[in-house]
Amino acid sequence: MPLIDPNVVDLSRLQFALTALYHFLFVPLTLGLTIMLAAMETVYVVTGKQIYKDMTHFWGKLFGINFAIGVATGLTMEFEFGTNWSMYSHFVGDVFGTPLAIEGLMAFFMESTLVGLMFFGWDRLSKPAHLAVTYLVALGSNLSALWILVANGFMQDPQGASFDPNTMRMQFNDFTALVFSADAQAKFVHTSIAGFVAGAMFVMGISAYYILKGRNREFAARSFRMASVFGLVSTLAVVTLGDALGRLDYLSQPTKIAAIEGLWHTSAPPYAPWLIAALPNDATQSNSFEFGVPYVLTPLVAHSFTTPIPGLIDIEQASVPRVDNGIKAIAALQEYGATHSAESLATFTKYESDMGYGFLAQRYAPEQDVNLITPALLPSIEQQAVRDSIPNVFVTFWSFRVMMALGFFFIAIFAFSAYYSLKNQLEKHPLLLKLCMWSIPLPVLATEFGWVTAEAGRQPWTVFGWLPTFQSASSHNIGYMFFSLAGFALLYSAFIAAELYLMFKFARLGPDQHDAAVHHTPADKSISAPIFAKPGFANKSWE
């Protein structure tokens, strides 16, 4: 079996990573803004105040600009499994494709059909009916995330399927195990609520801009209030879930957690330090520099004071027997494919659980045929295979730290914003408002780094422990890859330019200008009064 050109594999990975990261620039805002829109419209329906309808309208418009690209670029991911990862799709489509199909049936259809009504149905639906539509859109977008992350959970910790030597693929055998996999659960909640944080920061930041400019004050103060409170609670939830995810990785993906913590050698509890900064060197398998806080690592990761955390070098060496077994499994599988003999099946079943390590070794076998591995070659192949069995530590270590630092920054900024908003003293703190404004892209950035942590930390596998990445790709000609990469680069750059242009345009225009034509009823009297008539307060402007 010829090896797929490593350059094609790398370009396929690059293309998937870039298109996924790009898609995820828009997803968090969709997840969060739909829920925020539902909250705003709830206030409108409960209190009957026109301004909350205006808020829903205006933020809904910005949501729409974002949603279109989110939908468009999401299609790319689904296509790419087939166009660039054919071996992967063949190998796990039976179990991985199912949540994607259910996502379409259950969630995406609802979200996309009703989003039309949400935008265009204001005059055609009663207040409660329109509110219900908005809630269903919000539910739909989050259910969508649920099924996608169930699929992703399978890649991280394959539950609910087993390998079938007759069809040479993983076959689905337990629906509840797949859907209620611990990894899928924690990752869904973490990702969905990270989206809430992004939505909250977006609304809060743009409102801060209006408050700073001293315009649309009634509108901005209310939006700011709702967003800051919404964001504070959400951020706390995200951090909690981040800890839960870390603990799950510690249980199911020890290589990922060791890479996140830059841990080459098994830790010595309880002293083991938690590294704040380090320069992990993947070539020498050591940290060129490290700086940490003692006694923190063990309780943080293992939730205990006595458990040692396995380090990468020790994990590698512990995997050597798995490589040996894996080679036997692959040889038996190949024989079974040709002969269907009971004997080869028995051998395969015996070593089945180490099959993935056999694939890792197969790469270094002469002519990619494990039957040609001689005892003299074995030791070097074992070492090459186990060196491949861990992720890139530098990338995993730092992407995790950036994400985490941003998370704690969000707690601080939302805490201050919520506090001053509740006290109605925002206008006294222009620096905080400016910070809010400049922080708009940060939650999206944090989710991107979170994705990198999760997916780079999963390497070298596409399905953890079963199928290596280098074997998952389609066997394309490299020219195909240049064609598609160039196309994506061109299109996606144009899209982001158009999106940013429109976002800035409509955010600057503000709610008055763009909504002037749709005010069917005169604005509420209550909102024309200055918000807080303390002396010298209301007239203050920081323009």
């Binding site: 206030v43 989050n142 909640v189 609520i193 879930l241 009064a529 918000i531 008539a533």
Partner: protein, 64 residues
């Protein structure tokens, strides 16, 4: 008649919500947490807005 339909629909929603909560509570503690947590986040944010209106009303009558 209209009321009966309304009660029926409401009862169906409640039964569905209970069923969802029981299943999620049994098999998916984090999913359950998401359901409860998201509801809570929305309610707290709505409460923030309602509090804003109250503060505004109090302020206009000169007591803030």
């Amino acid at each position: 008649m209209g009321n009966i339909v309304k009660f029926g629909a409401l009862a169906a929603v409640i039964v569905f919500a209970l069923l969802l909560a029981v299943v999620a509570g049994d098999y998916g503690p984090w999913y359950f947490a998401w359901l409860v947590g998201t509801t809570m986040i929305i309610l707290i944010s709505v409460a923030g807005a309602v509090m804003f209106e109250t503060q505004l009303a109090t302020n206009q009558s000169g007591r803030l």
